[in-house]
Symmetry: C2
Subunit: 87 residues, 2 copies
């Protein structure tokens, strides 16, 4: 399962589609964002994806966590969002 890497210029609707597809296939998804703008798009995508999966009787929750990653040799703090159906 690929990690959905989210950028400030990511389209929340497209992301939501990818998220819903990943959930349908793998029953969970993982998103990664660096910075407030990217995180904003990621959370909007989850809110939109809730509407995509609701007709299938699924609601989504997300679990945020900090993650240290290296971009171009520089250490950055990313936020990872684990997304899964609400139990």
């Amino acid at each position: 399962m690929d990690i959905l890497k989210v950028a400030t210029n990511s389209n929340p609707n497209s992301l939501a589609g990818a998220l819903a597809a990943t959930i349908q296939e793998h029953h969970r998804a993982e998103m990664q964002s660096v910075g407030a703008g990217a995180l904003n798009q990621a959370i909007k995508a989850i809110a939109i994806a809730r509407g995509f999966v609701a007709p299938h009787g699924i609601d989504l929750v997300c679990i945020p966590a900090f993650s240290e990653i290296t971009i171009d040799g520089e250490e950055r703090t990313a936020i990872k969002l684990f997304v899964e159906p609400r139990r």
Copy 2:
């Protein structure tokens, strides 16, 4: 139960404390943010609060939703985050 209103300059650690206290008392919490900076602080607070409640055998999930609110007579789109123990 009060809604935790989050601003760009909110301290994620303080917010996490308020969040953990609200969860302990009401078994759920609701946060509201307007803008990417505020949402960033809110999500960081949830990630931190997971560490605060983990020793009590609780993990937290959040459910994001759009919400139209009025600030100073102007309509804005807020992101609401419903936070609850993972089942």
